[in-house]
């Protein structure tokens, strides 16, 4: 039984991490047109508790994508330099959508495991109900 509860916690940690990831994806997409915005990336790492691996996952530090910012030509823009360009963001919408899809797929897999563990413990408890 404790294994099943452990399963629920592991799946929940996975869902939490993926939800965090998709939150950053939406932040990137929302700021796709913000001048000078660097897209945020998030990495996953194994959770440690008192130096021991719990097997759960957690999202690590947020890092900024250091790719070059896109140059947008608009001489009328207040931030334009002498050539008429200003710094846009380095968000690539296709990459963000792909990332969001992947996060969704992983989230669903975690959810399925959560549901299965729940059903398994439920059928275990059914044995007592006679």
């Amino acid at each position: 039984m404790s294994d099943l509860f452990n399963t629920l916690q592991l799946s929940a940690s996975g869902m939490r991490a993926q939800a965090n990831r998709i939150r950053h994806v939406s932040e990137n997409i929302a700021n796709a047109d913000t001048p000078g915005y660097h897209r945020k990336t998030i990495s996953f790492e194994s959770e440690l508790q008192a130096g021991k691996m719990t097997g759960a996952v957690q999202s690590g530090q947020i890092e900024l994508d250091q790719r070059e910012l896109s140059k947008i030509f608009d001489p009328g823009h207040p931030m334009a330099d002498e050539t008429g360009h200003y710094d846009g963001s380095n968000v690539d919408l296709v990459v963000e959508i792909a990332d969001a899809r992947e996060a969704q797929r992983s989230y669903e897999a975690n959810l399925k495991m959560f549901d299965q563990a729940r059903q398994m413990s439920k059928s275990l408890l059914e044995l007592l109900r006679r």
């Binding site: 099943l4 452990n6 996975g14 990831r21 996953f44 194994s46 097997g55 996952v57 495991m113 059928s123």
Partner: protein, 129 residues
Amino acid sequence: MFDKIEIFRLANSLAVHSANRQSVIAQNIANSDTPGYRAKDTESFSDNYKNSDSSVLRTTRQTHLTSDAARNTAAKLLDAGGESSPNGNNVSLELEMVKATEVRHQHDLALSVYSSSLNIIRTSLGRGR
């Protein structure tokens, strides 16, 4: 009392093993995007059951020392292998789903065997269903 009967012991071990394996699968899936994570798996039930059987000392009297914990030894963790992606992670969600379905069947099987054996005993005691 009932765990001394072989079939209950078998059903119990199978249920414990499948819960254990489910936990390992959930861990793999939770870490399916963690860089450098290697997929794990438990050894198969038949191996685990055989090993746990031979390693436990036979008890012929109530006073003999035994440990229930030793009987249901936690299955050893194995590296599940498989192709790894560029970030060193080798979890395949599809494979894990297949394993999860297997585990589900195993667990259902264990519970069905347990409850129908219980019914047989009830019937033999004259209580019926």
